[in-house]
Amino acid sequence: MKVSILTVAFFILLAIFSDQVVELVPLKRGEIFSPPSSDHLLGTNDVGEDVLKELIIATKVSVVISLFSATLSAILGLFIGIFSGYYRSLTAKIFETFTEVFLVIPTLPLLIVFSFHLPPSIFNIILLIALFSWPSMARIVRARVFQLRNSGFVQSAILFGASDFRIILHHIIPNLSEIFFARFSMLVAYSLIVESSLSFIGLADPTNKSWGAMLHYALKRGAILNDAWWCFVPPGVCIALLAVSFLLLSFEFEKVRLTEKFSINK
């Protein structure tokens, strides 16, 4: 738990201060594919760029995309989930059906088709990932809201004549926090991995290289055949580290929920 919070904090701080941190790294170009040395701590890539410098700049791109798209899709999923779980109108039913339908469509091929047409920018990628990752949040929130709506305290609030808005704000939303944060952490990890996959396929913004894009160029320009492991190991380790940290956080939130549920049952 502590380790994952520290890792997440480290990467977020690195992303925020990447412009300043980069200046600490000597920027002169080296030989192509030169191994790690005191000049270039992580060696150089196929054009002689310092890998460490690239990695720090890419941190910003990857962290920004995964955090923002997860936030956007989490909020979208939260609203749709509350709406379709709380109300019993036809519109709510339609939203529920849409959630189920979207869950089945394979996301990666769909995103490939979309991002192929849109000009590759960070903004577009954030929007695309958010647009197609809300259903998992909506579904889990809907199930919980449905359960809460039938529980005693919400029923008595209705009996006392509380408005829907008040019930949702004071009785439903506070009870969604563990579910929300568990799923949100998962969404960050998911967005990170999806973004890196799209960039790896070569659909990323070439001017803003993310960790996935670094892997794209490493594979495309023969880092393996040049024995240049320093080109492809660091970005992958970064993706895995950040994703693991967010998933472990999500796992912790879920455990809190399970123990709470158990203590209520007692």
Partner: protein, 310 residues
């Protein structure tokens, strides 16, 4: 019974809607996105072959109103006319069928093995309430599947030289070209399935009938076999169909790493030469396969679990 049949109608309607949505998205995207729809639909090379382009324009009715285009598009879809790939100089369906079977050869066995092992590991972790193993699975799950492939390729093919650096399988001796890519996918799927089935089995174990089973003095193994696994089976089957979609996505990425000429490498190539018809057709085919897998799993899980039928 009346209730049961209306439930069936709802489920059928849902899959029909999914299918309709996918097909319509596929129609709308190239026409609604910025840029010339002809280029969006057929790629830039289309303008280099005016006579073929003329024919295709007529075939897809690009000069007609959108509604008519839509019906023509549906008709073309059902007759397997996915358009013409200018970079391959072949109809799209021909190109894809050359690649698709290799992807299925890679994906299907990997999915079966990955799901079986994953569910086994996941149920065991849930039953024994292990923590370390969960963390291990989360770590494996977080490693990007294509990066795992790159690392395998680097160590086993480049450094150790045990496996070839990649390529197509053309004869039986080439089976070793399948080993590394499928191991990569299997490892990834084991992690996903273990995590998901752990969640399902832990959920079952919180149910009161399990407490009853333990309270009436059944042996642990009997509780696991007769009550826990049986009750978790239906959601696990439903889950493994969704995994099939993951397997395809994983396969797309892993094929690129191992230059294994399946759908994934085709996507990589199509993105490089900006051949849109290929991407469009791959999307619709993968979607159809995944949706059908889900529909079948839905039917099976309803058939074996009476609780889902009410």
């Amino acid at each position: 019974m009346v209730q049961g049949s209306s439930e069936k109608v709802t489920v059928f309607f849902r899959y029909f809607l999914t299918f309709f949505l996918v097909v319509t998205l596929n129609f709308v995207i190239p026409r609604a996105m910025p840029g010339d729809p002809v280029v969006n639909l057929f790629g830039e090379e289309a303008y280099l072959h005016p006579e073929i382009l003329q024919e295709i324009r007529k075939e897809f009715g690009l000069d007609k109103p959108l509604i008519e285009q839509y019906f023509l598009y549906i008709e073309n879809l059902f007759t397997g006319n996915f358009g013409y790939s200018f970079s391959f100089h072949k109809p799209v369906l021909e190109v894809i069928s050359e690649y698709m079977w290799r992807t299925i050869l890679l994906t299907l066995p990997s999915t079966v093995v990955g799901v079986l092992f994953g569910v086994y590991v996941g149920s065991l972790i849930a039953w024994k309430k292990k923590q370390v193993e969960v963390v291990l699975m989360i770590v494996v799950y977080s490693i990007p599947v294509y990066w795992l492939g790159i690392i395998f390729l680097y160590f086993f093919s480049y450094k150790a030289g045990i496996f070839p650096l990649g390529g197509a399988i053309s004869s039986f001796e080439d089976v070793n070209k399948l080993i590394l890519p499928s191991t990569t996918i299997v490892l990834h799927l084991i992690a996903i399935n273990a995590l998901m089935s752990r969640a399902i089995v832990s959920g079952t174990m919180n149910e009161s009938f399990i407490v009853t089973a333990i309270a009436k003095g059944l042996k642990g193994e009997t509780v696991l076999r007769r009550h826990v696994i049986r009750a978790s089976l239906a959601p696990i089957i439903a889950m493994s169909a969704i995994e099939f979609g993951f397997a395809f996505s994983g396969s797309i990425l892993v094929e690129i790493v191992f230059s294994y000429p399946g759908i994934g490498l085709l996507i990589w190539e199509a993105v490089r030469v900006r051949d849109y018809p290929i991407l469009q057709a791959i999307f619709i085919l993968v979607a159809i396969i995944v949706i059908s897998a889900n529909a079948i799993a839905d039917l099976i899980s309803k058939a074996i679990d009476p609780r889902l039928r009410s």
